[in-house]
Amino acid sequence: MKQVLPIFIFIAFVAAHAQGQDIAVSGRVTSVDDGTALPGVNVTVKGTANGTVTDADGRYRIQSPSTGVLVFSFIGMKTEEVQVGSRSMIDVSLNADVTQLSEVVITALGVEKQSRELGYAVSGVKSEDLVVARESNILNALQGKITGVTITQSSGNLGGSSKIVVRGITSLSGRNNPLWVVDGVPINDAHDNTSAQNNRISGNRDFANGASVINPDDVEAINVLKGAAATALYGSRAAAGVILVTTKKGKTGKGGKPTVTFNSSLRFDNLFRVPDYQNEYAGGQNFKYDSSAIFNNWGPRIVGQYITESITGDSVPLAAYPKNFNDFYRQGKTLINNFSVSDASDRGDYRLSVSSLNQTGILPNAELNRITLGFNAGMKHSEKFKTRIGIQYINTKSQGTGVAGANDPNIWGLNSFVRSTNYKNYKPWIDANGNQINTSGNTDNNPFWLQHENRNERNDERFIGNFETTFSPISELNFTARIGYDYDMDDRLLTNRVGTRSRATGDFLIDGINRTQFNVDVIGTYFKQLGSDFTLKLLGGYNYNKRGFKSETLFSQNLSIPELFNPSNATVNTPTRAFAEQVLFGAFGEAVLGYKDWATLTLTGRNDWSSTLPKDNRSYFYPSASLAVVLTDALGMDNTTLNYAKLRASAAQVGNDTGPYQLLFQYFPVAQAGGQYGLNQNFPFDGRLGFQANNVIPPENLQPEKQTTIEFGAELQFFKSRFTLDVAYFSSNNRNQIIAAPIPPSSGFGFKRINAGEIVTSGVEISLDARVIDQGNFQWNSIINYTQTDSKVKTLMPGVDRILIASEFNNIQVVAIPGQEYQLFGNSYLRHTETGRLIINPDTGLPQAGPLKTFGSVLPDFTMGFINNFTFKNFMLSTTIDWRSGGLLSSATTLGMWTGGGGVETAYNREGSYIISSGVLLNQDGSVRDNDIPVRSTQTFWTNINPGGSPEAHVFDASFVKLREIGISYSFPRSLLGNGFINSLQVGVEGRNIALLYSKVPHIDPEATLFGAGADGFGVERNTVPSTRSIGFNLRLTF
């Protein structure tokens, strides 16, 4: 390749162009809504290749024949056509395009296209919809608002991660997270795990996914490119979809003055869902009171008997404390402030934005503080030459992050609260000598000690920058070069103070994670009118992408001075280092053939060269084709019922590479020799190093993955576009996946990296947008988004029954099994084959562990979002309701509510005895009889409800309906603001996660997950930090 490609591109696009201008027309384009200038509006002479865009002040200049018609089009605005006639000055005001008949959308590589040209579905959310109830993780603001995606907020942790899956699971190797692109530059969305146990289940700290730093206040629009045809130009990295973020640009305010905005929200966060606790029985075991019985509520019935209070030593009546969780959890606060100033002139524009996010969490001592500085500026050096720069700096500091999973002393869940414990007495938690104040037995910690003395801190410095320059030697020809750099330095500190029970000698873990990404795109476009009916747009270019990852950790144990996190203060230090880098080159091209403005055929091709594939196979090509036909125009329909109908179809292939360093057989130095329960030894051991060979057989002749997708869709608008129906069907087939296939361990290896396995994903997306009422002062707009996705594993590899996707404790796993969606898998109850009834243990009257089995899919059957916006005069009410149907959840927190006797159901018949009447006893001849063996006690029943770790009792249908967002606002009329410096003022009330309207999961938020965004561990929850309900106020000012 070397230096040939850019020259080729240059030559290819330098071609003859149409001539013939008559008069010069100029003018200014503004918004009808607020009179502000609209930069970037496409202005073309209809039926010709002649076009320009407005500058930052909304001004344009173009040559046109007097008989010409100027077409003004812009993202989210209704396209206007104006006859030139004899005028040389034409000012135009554009309306927001509620019909989206001719909407301009941003597509792959930042290319703007008319929505009518697209042969595939694109879903978008505009800035105002992202800040209805502002979120610290922008992903959560998309919930329910677009089709084709499933978004799951992991927990109530401040800064916690959210996982988005676009059009279902397609990858067996966990490459199911979409690519994030901000202003044309890919950024990292990694969800890095930090744990002394090096897994996501032992003391998981959810420290956010990389894209969560995007500041909603700085976002103009988010578009989700879902199918392979939409993402094909992005290449292999976009196989799981693309989320395109466009940030706000500078523009002139009213009267040509700068635009200054101030937006402030204050919200209060409380527990979203409180478990149904019993409050009749005290802490203890076997009806005996025990003040140290953390987690156990099997003590005596509370009747006011006197006990010695464990910490104060006072004799006090035994009492229940129904709200004692509130002595631990507190009201969290979220304060979001954004200040921006922007301006524009003939030659340039800029926007400077400063945002602060200050949160205190519901967990004691939990805080998150984020500062975001955004700068975006463009310069027009001439009509032909422009440059633009964008810089974002984000600093996020958090502390007191909650810990989930198991095998970590810092875990404190909803099931930890003993009903008869007054947690107010657990403060203070430390004495003058630094010892823990605690009477919670020998093994459990004072929860306030955990939150205040053990540190779970993060300091994340993020820099995302881009520089873009555009050169248009002639109006039909355009070159753009774009450089982007994403730098992330993520420092984490996890500590256990000396005196922490189970970590008595103290330890700390320092993790410094550095991710970088350098990206270059060079793109040329050329437009050609072919006769009167056809248009041709050509695009070509190349891409260079380099990603780096470094992680340096230090695990230090046995501290001398409790709060000194210096390796020299520890007797054992275990450093580890990880490093990876990969490079991708891509060359791409696109041809868009238009016919009479109602049919568009788009063909694309891209060739990638990846550093991670074998030399002979690292070049791979993949094409796409899409067709869009505006039926109403093609047939000349003039129908008031169906006023717009567009049909679209596409077929595409996307290739995909793999991770770095997977081709060679290597030995690795080992830091730890692992054991059950995370009981590990360290190397050097007695001064000796430890090395082990790779457990994966390297691949031979590894080929790139190939994902094939077809998509059909229709966009129909009725009654002058009052009702819009968008329907899409898609089917994708991801075969030849690059996976580490499990092979028999007895072969000497655990895995072999091969091309194998196939997932077939299909689905339907329906979006209905209705202006239900549009009368005078009152408008009601309603949107329903429906997504049904079916992701079935078609094949794995010969001889392999299942592949482990994610593993929790007690044999509970998420697995891939041919013919099924991802399944929850674990020990079942032992059941009688013929009748399916439980086979009861004749000695105990209890159920018994059965064989391993699948419980069902962990993925939802469908999701729906209901969005309603009501406007009355200056009042506006927005609501979002989120419905997820299907998918399973294994809730270990619920199990803990049972085994600990804290759940209300455990108080039923507490002092009686049980006979599991649904069970049977096995006779010696193999026949069965009804069970008549009583369980010794209610405590015995509940504490043995998961024999052999079987999750059968605590696997639930995770369906839910939530009132996700609500926003009520009032915009002060201009008349009240006078002629002072305030241009607009809006006040409002906003809320997130308002109500759980339907759920089958007891005690907890059915959306909770343990694994977060970094793994495909759907359907598993264990001591996840509880989610929150947020309600607050908002003030928006424009000067």
């Binding site: 070397k2 850019p6 020259i7 020998n442 093994t443 050169f471 070159f479 753009t480 189970s502 270059v520 190349y542 046995n558 054992v572 275990t574 990880a578 490093f579 990969q582 490079v583 990846s610 550093s611 991670t612 770095p660 360093y661 060679l664 030995y667 690795f668 130095p669 692992g674 054991g675 059950q676 329960y677 995370g678 009981l679 030894q681 360290n682 190397f683 051991f685 000796r688 190093l689 430890g690 090395f691 082990q692 060979a693 457990n695 057989i697 499990p742 092979i743 028999p744 361990p745 007895s746 072969s747 000497g748 290896f749 392999v800 029954d801 032992l830 000695d843 018994q848 391993l852 052999g948």
Partner: protein, 479 residues
């Protein structure tokens, strides 16, 4: 402005790296190596084996053969609790961490020639140990086709008879290699050999002793190996406490026996206050009047070293294992001289070997007490020679008993000799039926657990995996 005409192509050219190929040829991990010295691989294998064995089998299975009254996540009730992670983790460690790396060490050492015979021998001995653990847990295992992924990607399972006899051959080869190691130019494996520090004479003793252990298993079913046993017993064996095969733990952080780790991670750091592990009634009874009772246990407030029944954890009213046992510096013992001495006693009692049954019996008990009460590294509590002598002297003179009674008494001491060693304890009870261990209360099976379920990982990936037998089905060696 004209000069800007070529700005874009110029930028594009600058941004395009000089050579794509150079940029793409970066796919070698700078943090890994293409070769590894046995002195670095062997420590990993030895420590990983020891730690996984302690945490999977020890902390979870000591109530199966009833060293303990109860453990967490025990498979003792058989049925479907006898598999899952326990099987998967231990199987995975044996094949994917121990045997796989040992095979690579062996292969490199064989290629290096006779000067590396010592390394080859150590790799073979450790492989034999790992395969022996595997057949002890699952009976039939991949052996002849194992560890050869290119020729046998889905290995067939071999019968226990084939495996045990194959292990005898493997150990014979190791001994031959040691005998044929050149006097000079030998590879220095002292750094990697955490067991004997490169002392090949001790390795030869251990290999021969391990062979005798295996032959004793075979003879339980097939006495035709008696001549091999007699021959082996005439060769050097582990015969003093100075020759014990064990992995020492320093007890300092990062090098702490997992028994200490478990009571630290989930308890107070002391089993005496955490009350996790205590003796079963069976072992409590056998230790009556034995100084090892006070050496191993602390008494509860009830007095009399009361043991909890099987399935029940101790509390402070009952006996618990003391911090003298559950400590960071507790070594992981692989072979004591007492085991061989007591085999001699057993064989003499059965008329296979000539010898003074009572003298061998008493020597075996003495060696056991001397190890646990005197030689064991890092002991917090010791026994005086007088305590040992007095106890041994108080033992019944076996020469006054019938052969069957002799075998019973020897078997009881063999049980106590295997104390704290999961595979050996389980094998002993299954081999000799001494002591009589009944099915745990609430068991899904009719007898004591006789085998683990197959590894779910192996089952999922190997179509040649046999059907799961009931977990109370005796293994081939059980007679």
């Amino acid at each position: 402005m004209k000069r800007l005409l070529f700005f874009i192509p110029a930028i594009a050219s600058l941004l395009m790296p000089i050579s794509c190929s150079d940029q793409l040829d970066i796919n070698t991990n700078p943090l890994s190596a293409s070769k590894a010295d046995p002195n670095a691989v062997l420590p990993f294998v030895i420590v990983q084996y020891s730690n996984r064995k302690t945490t999977e089998l020890g902390t979870r299975m000591h109530d199966v053969y009833q060293f303990f009254s109860n453990t967490f996540n025990s498979p003792k009730t058989g049925g479907n609790t006898a598999g899952g992670f326990l099987s998967g983790n231990y199987w995975g460690m044996l094949y994917n961490q121990a045997l796989s790396n040992l095979t690579l060490v062996e292969s490199d050492a064989r290629a290096a020639g006779a000067t590396n015979n010592n390394v080859t021998a150590i790799a073979l001995i450790l492989k034999a140990l790992a395969f022996f653990d595997a057949t002890s847990c699952w009976e039939n295992i991949p052996f002849t086709q194992a560890l050869n992924a290119s020729a046998f990607p889905q290995p067939e399972f071999d019968s226990q008879e084939v495996v045990l006899n194959g292990l005898v051959d493997m150990l014979d080869e190791a001994i031959t290699l040691i005998d044929n190691t050149p006097a000079t130019g030998t590879f220095n494996v002292s750094q990697g050999d955490l067991i004997y520090g490169g002392n090949m004479a001790n390795w030869k003793r251990y290999a021969n002793s391990l062979k005798i252990r295996i032959l004793m298993m075979i003879r339980n079913r097939d006495t035709s190996v008696d001549s091999k046993i007699i021959t082996a017993l005439s060769q050097p064996v582990v015969e003093t406490n100075g020759q014990v095969a064990m992995l020492r733990y320093s007890g300092t952080a990062g090098n702490v026996n997992a028994w200490k780790l478990i009571v630290t991670a989930f308890g107070t750091g002391s089993n005496e206050t955490t009350n996790y592990f205590g003796p079963s009634p069976v072992i409590r009874e056998l230790l009556e009047g034995d100084p090892r009772l006070q050496l191993y246990c602390i008494d509860g407030t009830n007095g009399g070293y009361e043991a909890q029944p099987i399935g029940v954890f101790p509390n402070n009213t009952k006996a618990r294992y003391s911090d003298n046992l559950i400590r960071g510096s507790l070594p992981d013992v692989w072979m004591l001289p007492a085991e061989i001495t007591l085999y001699r006693a057993e064989l003499a009692a059965k008329g296979v070997l000539a010898g003074d049954v009572n003298a061998l019996y008493r020597l075996g008990v003495t060696q056991t007490l001397e190890f646990w009460g005197q030689t064991i590294p890092g002991a917090l509590q010791t026994l005086t020679q007088a305590q040992i002598t007095n106890f041994v002297t108080s033992l019944t003179d076996l020469n006054t008993l019938t052969p069957a009674e002799q075998v019973q008494r020897i078997g009881e001491q063999q049980y106590l000799e295997t104390f704290w060693r999961p595979i050996e304890g389980w094998n002993h009870v299954r081999r000799t039926k001494i002591p009589d261990i009944q099915a745990a209360p609430g068991s899904d099976i009719a007898t004591m657990l006789k085998r683990l379920q197959w590894s779910p990982t192996e089952v999922a990936a190997n179509p040649n995996n046999p059907v799961q037998p009931s977990t109370d089905l005796p293994m081939w060696f059980e007679n």
